[in-house]
């Protein structure tokens, strides 16, 4: 199971990086979303996908799920959600003011 998840995470990463290297703003944002999904999945995988009892203080439970990675992922998802929504608004404003959504045309000069 872990191997499948690792492969899936790596596919997400590679497609994300491919999109990140495009010129169109929206594609770049899609790329960041894919990369963040890959990172979260990877975090889940790295702590081993165990089956067992919930992580509660009960006697005679030998195998239980590790709660820490899930707490970490939850935090990371919230953060990347916030950043992505900010990035979408930013891309829209950039597009309306600069009249372009092509990164090639957004180089700028030293003095503006």
């Amino acid at each position: 199971m872990e191997i499948i998840l690792t492969v899936l995470a790596s596919i997400l990463f590679s497609t994300g990086i491919y999109n990140l290297l495009q010129k169109q703003l929206l594609r770049i944002i899609v790329g960041t979303v894919l990369i963040s999904h890959g990172a979260h999945l990877f975090l889940l995988t790295m702590s081993q996908v165990k089956r067992g009892a919930p992580p509660l203080l009960v006697d005679d439970v030998s195998s239980y799920t590790d709660p820490l990675p899930q707490a970490l992922i939850l935090t990371a998802i919230v953060i990347s959600f916030g950043v992505t929504s900010f990035l979408l608004v930013l891309a829209y404003r950039t597009y309306t003011l600069n009249k372009t959504d092509n990164m090639e045309e957004m180089r700028g000069s030293d003095y503006d």
Binding site: L20, L25, I28, T32, I35, S36, G38, A39, H40, F42, L43, T45, M46, S47, Q48, L68, P69, L72, T75, A76, I79, S80, G82, V83, F86, L87, L90, A91, R93, T94, L97, N98, M106, G108, D110, Y111, D112
Partner: protein, 493 residues
Amino acid sequence: MINLIYLPIVLPLLASVIAALLTKNTNITRLFSQITSVVFLIFVGGLAFYIFQNGTIVGQAGGWAAPYGISIVGDPLAILLVLTTNIIGTAAIFYAPKVLEEKQERFYFYALYFLLIAGVSGAFMTGDLFNLFVFFEVLLMASYGLIVLGNGKAQLRESFKYVLFNLFSSMLFIVSVAYIYAITGTVNLAHLAERIETVEQQGILTAVGMILFFVFAVKAAVFPLYYWLPNSYVVPNPVVSALFGALLTKVGIYSIIRVYTLIFVHETAITHSIFIWLAMFTMLFGVIGALSTHNVKLIVTYNIIPAVGFMLMGIGLYTPEAIAGSVYYLMHDMVIKGALFFLIGALVIAAGTKDLRQMSGVIQKYPLLGWIFFIASLILAGVPPFSGFIGKILLLEGGLRQEEFLLVIVALLSSLLILLSMMRIFVYGFWGELMDGLSNETKRIRQLTIPGVVLVGLAIFLGIGAELVYPQIESISNMLYERTDYISSVLKE
């Protein structure tokens, strides 16, 4: 007493919320922000004094003991940097009303400012790797808000790139936390430092350490990852540039210091010798950038990069005095970069242009600004007896002891070139014929110069009063080098 350690993080967060609610009336927000930041400064000063007298305070959030809960560690290094952050922040708050437009102030400048301070203080004081990521995001979110404040064409264009770079490195941060958790089963810094010695496959750890270094190197603008920095720090308002230049890259450098003196010290022959090469290139390329442009603000921005190289040099050398040099340089650089950005902001407003070729003779009308800028340039370049000199001499001495002669030569050369780049501003901008179109707002320019004067005064004190300051820095660097103090005070065995 222990609960006071949370306040440098909690109070700015509260102040941020209050400032966001007060935003309808700019005068009240302004007054509120000024009073609260002075109060914070006094409080953090008192806390720093207490910690220097009585040693590290560790707060365990929610009462969960160290490896399980999140620790907030007020060790001398962290509290010293939090204190410096608050000094610069307070100076910036008094500088802000003079440079910001009414609209920018109303659009949550003060709320974002307090959020930034909370994030920076949190990143300095956290004792948990994942929590460090969270505080990085807090300060980055605030900085995203600040960088687009004003809504200019160039601002939006550059901030998009800035957000992308930081977002990508944050994702890699999560990946490296995942790796570290998989290998050691903990994310608490002190617990990691203990467990790292018992890990069998040290090679994997070195690889993970380098991924983590990549993350911090992006934030700290180390060669070859600094290319996002110059343009995105030039475009915002002067006060925002000052906060960024003084605080943000320093958080990255602090994280490198913390992680590579506490956790990844098992393979210094590989990791730390890479740092030495990177430090060399960072110094050279940064200073070449500073010499390549006529935009005064860009010159100062490029000067952030060689300073990062100097601090990285101390970590690469990894001896107690070199680390002391890095810590001294870190503190000095926060203060002087803040001062320089304030003064350059005043200069740009006085001259009405950023282009050095169109400026001349500013000193004839604004002598105070000119001379303070001159002293600040000398401090930045490390001319004795000022604070830059103390940091540099410790680093160079460390370099000579380790027989890294090439590194020492590059460091000396880049100091000279830093001086040259700053003197270009002084000679072309301040000297010569009085230019046309020089601003007549004498009072405003004087008010803009004063925060710079205060910070330059502090930097002079750090240099001349080195006898008073250095023993503290030395004990900090010994603590960093020995590691046991940090581990035992967090884990309390």
